[in-house]
Structure formats: structure tokens, C-alpha cells
Amino acid sequence: MAASAGAGNATRGNAQGAAGAVGSGKGGSGGGTLSSALFYVFLFLFVLVSVAPLLWVFKMSIVQKSEVTATPPTILPQSFTGQSYSTIFSDASFQKALINSIIIAGVTTVVCLFFGAIAAYAIARLRFNFKNLVMTLILAISFFPAVAIIAPLFIQFRAIGLINTYWSAIIADTVFALPLTIWILVSFFKELPPDLEEAAKIDGATTLQAFRKVIVPLAAPGVFTTAILTFIFAWNEFLFAATFLYEESVQPVTVRIPNFATVYTVDYGAQAAAAVVVTVPLVILVLIFQRRIVSGLTAGAVKG
């Protein structure tokens, strides 16, 4: 599902900065300082809109109750309290939900990487017919509406006793995360020079040994990026968890937190704090690995 054959360069270009892409197309010629000032105003607004909801909800989570409901609302925090966070963290069901999320997303990531890396290597490096068929099937799966299979899966999972266990969510999440994993890994594997495996094979290694000893270590950064993306995907999943996990003790945060609107009816600060706690780890991951994530995402989507 590629845009163009040159997309591989695009992703690298992205990491490097688009310095040469359009050259001095706009910035250099004409307008000078005025246009570049406008440009930065535009950028500032764009960044502000992107992060404003998080900042606002963060503010709600750290101010006192009287300020949360104040009319007119305050823009900058005027009071401070850790009350909302202690409410949330003393809620045992919230802690359990966090652990459940980590287990479900973590196991899904490991399973996807294992099966995904093997399949992606074959697709990227080995020759076989039906490759396009396989790739098309994999891609089609990742975009079909998940609701189309929740009823049959529910019946199946109930028959084998998986309802209200982590495995029901992990198995279903894996099917939708695996295509993502494979597509991104294929594009990372293709960027590695083939000479190294050739050399390993000449030295007597089998294809599988070459894969394990040469490709996997070399592709480690790409595999790591894929792991982050798969983890974020599984961490954010809601539909399957809501369908198969109706007992509170196994629900992940995505299912628990919307219920806080009825648990902490008027405690908006606590609801805000819960949202912040679930988001912050992802925001930190994104800030640290933004460059890699962008190249992984665009590789998976534009190229693949």
C-alpha cells in the first residue's frame, strides 16, 4: 500500500530534518524577518492547540475543588493541592487497572514482536510467490472494523473459558496490532544492507542463524521503536477490553476511567488526575523517542 518507491528516503529525510527538501522555498526568499515571525506565531499556535487540553486537565487535577468549579474559570492555577492524586492512588481499583493495562499491553507487545519479526523477515528478505497476497491480507485486517467480530469472539472465548481473563484481550489485541508490527518491521528490515547476511551465510550460517545473529541485533533500534508503537496501540485499546472484560478486577484503565464519571460524580479533579496519570507515561515515551516514532509511523503508513 505504498505511496511511492521513494518513501524510504522520506522517512530518513524526516529524521534528518527536511533541510534540503524544498530548499529555501519560502523562508529564504523575500519576506525575511516578518514572514519568519509569522511562521513562528503559526507554529506556536499549532503547538499550543495540540497540548492545551492536556495542560488544562493537568491544571484541573492540581487545584482545589473550589477553583475547579469557579465561575468564571481561572486560566492559571491560583491554588494547589495534591488531593486529587491521593484520591486516585488510594483507589485500589485504579491501581489494579493500571497493572492490568501494563500486563495486557506488555504481553501483547511481546507476542506481536515475536511472531511479527519472524514473518517480517521472510517478507523483507526471502523470495516467495503470494507475498503480495499475504501483505494485502495483513493490511486489510488492520483496517477492518473490529466490531464485526466481537460477537463470534465472545461466543468462542466463553466456550473455552477466556472471558474475564487477560488472554481474551491479549488475543484480540494481537490480531489488530500484529499487522502494524509486521508492516513497520518489514520497512526497518528492508533498510538494512543485505551484504551482512550474505557474508554470514558464506561463513556457513543458515538463514535462521543469519536472522537471529545478524539481523535482530542490527535491527534492534527498529525493533525497539516497533515495540513502543505496539505497546501504545495495545495500551489505548478499548473495544475488546470493554467486550470481554466485564469484571472490574481484570479491566484495564481505558475501561475503568470512563466509569469514574459515575464513581467520582462531582470530584472533577479526581477524574482529571486519573486521565493525567494514564497519559503521562505515553507523553514521556513520545517526548524521548519522538524522532524514532515518527520514522516508524511514516514508514509503516506511507511506505506500507
Binding site: M1, A2, A3, A7, A10, G13, G17, G20, A21, V22, G23, G27, F39, F42, L43, F46, V49, P53, L54, V57, M60, T69, P72, P73, F115, A119, A122, R127, F128, N129, K131, N132, M135, T136, L137, I141, F143, F144, A148, I149, I150, A151, P152, I155, I182, N236, F238, T243, T254, P258, A261, Y268, A272, A275, T279, V283, V286, V294, T298, V302
Partner: protein, 304 residues
């Protein structure tokens, strides 16, 4: 490495399996394919099968032909869901595309603070949809919501946003645009960077102005990327579930929420829900076919 059988001969599967390298490739792809077949393709078949019976969650019931589909179209909630899904998909993808392209064009150059902008772009994308719905709900809310407060003081709205179906749908579109425009911009930016700078230089030398360069060079060369990005977003919006379910507190209907409620919550709508599940799947499939055959989207760059 190149063996005679590695040439481009299209053999059947049995011939393929005689070649050790190809056999290995199939073994490597097989586990991932089996997972996909067992947990996605097979259940789709079951959904189709169930949709032709007067099924309950516990038994298959009598064969009723297409009666479930007739009942489905007669169901008001289903019709609301279909209308809302169509409006949501068309409007949000259109806005995301226009703004996304504008942003991509603007930041397709070297400037200070690229990393910051890229990180800010990724923040909404990394949010769990459910959590962004919770956060925005807090902002749209009539007690503590800053947006509801601002809109009321400006006289834009006369009733609380969350209690009105139309305003809720608009709010859902706003959240979706906020969350996924950056992603659209990233994809389009990666596509823009594949366009070589000398094409623009040549056009400039020939006296082409900004608009000519945009419509004659940028858009045609970007067509592949645009189609991929828009198809991805369209299929993603079409199956919207989390956002409607949480923002609308189960009041705002989409195709997916209708299926979920029918097959998981309601006892009597199970068979209609199966019909709606199949309907959602088939129509999503038709959308993809339209992009590939109707709009000429390239589906592969596989060279082997």
C-alpha cells in the same frame, strides 16, 4: 545466493514448497497468518453465518434469511448510527486533510525547534482515544467545562453541549480533528519530502507561480500519499467507537456502538446486531475497493 529457481516463475504452492528457501519463508509467515485467520477471518465468517439466523448469544436459532437485515434498516438507532457515522467520517476526514496538508506544507523546511513541534504533534496522537474523550468531556461539561463556559458567554450556544445530539456530534468531530490532524500532517509531510527540490527549481525557472507549482507539481506528485492517508483515516473514522461511546455517555450512536450495544448489552437485538456487524464490515470493504479501483490508489510496490 541466486539459484535458478529464484527466477520469476509463477509456480503453484506445491512447486514453491520444494524450494528450501521458499519453504522456510512460508514457515516463517505461517504463525502470523494462522493467528489472523483464526481470530479475524474465521470470526467474520461466523458473523455472516449468524446474521442469517434468529440467533441469541446462547443458541443459533432458526434460519431467517435476510430478515435480520430488514429489521436492521427498520431500527431507528441503527439509522441514527449510520447517519452519524457518515457525517462524522466525511466531515472529520475532510477537515483533517485540509488542515493537515496546510501544516505539512508550512513545516516542510528547516527551522529551529523542529523537535519540539514534532513532539507536540505526537502528543494528541499518543493519547488513548478514551482518555482524550474523558478530557474533552471535562472541558465541554456544563459545570466545570471551559469550552461550554466560553461558548455560552459568547452566546454561541443556548444549551449545554453534552445534552444536545447535534452539538455532541460536532464536539466529537472537534476532538477527532484535534487528535488525528497531526498524524495526517506527518504522513503528508513524509510524502512531500519525496518530491525532489529540482522539480520546483525547474518550474520556478520556467516562471510558474506559487499556485501553479501547488496544483501542477505538489498535488499530482503527492496523490499517492494523499490517497493512502485519506483511506486510512476514512476507514478509521468509519469504525469510530471509543470516542462516541465515552463522549456521548452511550447516547451518541455510531455503527460500531450500535453493534456493541446490540450484541453485548441488549438480549433481543443480538441477531440484528450481527447483521449490522456484517453491514459495517462489507461497507468498509467497499470503501477500500473504491479507493483502490475508483481512485486508482497503488496498493503495492513489492518488486519481487
Amino acid at each position: 545466493m541466486t539459484t535458478a529457481s529464484g527466477s520469476k516463475k509463477r509456480g503453484g504452492l506445491f512447486q514453491e514448497l520444494r524450494n528450501p528457501e521458499r519453504r522456510l519463508a512460508y514457515y516463517m509467515v505461517l504463525p502470523a497468518l494462522l493467528i489472523i485467520l483464526a481470530v479475524a477471518v474465521y470470526p467474520i465468517g461466523v458473523s455472516v453465518y449468524l446474521s442469517l439466523f434468529d440467533a441469541r448469544i446462547n443458541n443459533v436459532g432458526e434460519f431467517v434469511g435476510l430478515q435480520n437485515y430488514v429489521d436492521m434498516f427498520g431500527n431507528n438507532d441503527f439509522r441514527d448510527g449510520l447517519t452519524n457515522t457518515l457525517i462524522f467520517t466525511v466531515v472529520s476526514v475532510f477537515i483533517e486533510f485540509v488542515i493537515g496538508l496546510a501544516i505539512a506544507l508550512a513545516i516542510n523546511r528547516a527551522f529551529k525547534g523542529r523537535g519540539l513541534v514534532r513532539a507536540a504533534v505526537l502528543v494528541p496522537w499518543a493519547f488513548p482515544t478514551v482518555i482524550s474523550a474523558v478530557m474533552w468531556r471535562l472541558m465541554f461539561q456544563d459545570q466545570v467545562g471551559i469550552i461550554n463556559y466560553a461558548a455560552t458567554s459568547l452566546g454561541v450556544i443556548s444549551q449545554p453541549i453534552l445534552s444536545d445530539q447535534t452539538l455532541l456530534l460536532i464536539a466529537a468531530i472537534v476532538v477527532d480533528v484535534w487528535k488525528t490532524t497531526p498524524f495526517m500532517a506527518l504522513l503528508l509531510l513524509a510524502g512531500l519530502q519525496t518530491i525532489p527540490a529540482d522539480v520546483y527549481e525547474a518550474a520556478r525557472v520556467d516562471g510558474a507561480n506559487v499556485f501553479q507549482r501547488f496544483f501542477r507539481i505538489t498535488l499530482p506528485l503527492l496523490k499517492g500519499t494523499i490517497l493512502v492517508a485519506v483511506l486510512f483515516r476514512t476507514l478509521d473514522s468509519y469504525r469510530v467507537f471509543d470516542l462516541f461511546f465515552v463522549m456521548g455517555q452511550r447516547e451518541l450512536e455510531s455503527l460500531s456502538t450500535f453493534v456493541y450495544k446490540s450484541v453485548r448489552v441488549s438480549q433481543i437485538l443480538f441477531s440484528v446486531g450481527n447483521a449490522a456487524a456484517v453491514f459495517t464490515f462489507v461497507t468498509a470493504f467497499l470503501i477500500a475497493l473504491f479507493f483502490i479501483y475508483g481512485l486508482g490508489m497503488q496498493t503495492s510496490t513489492e518488486d519481487s
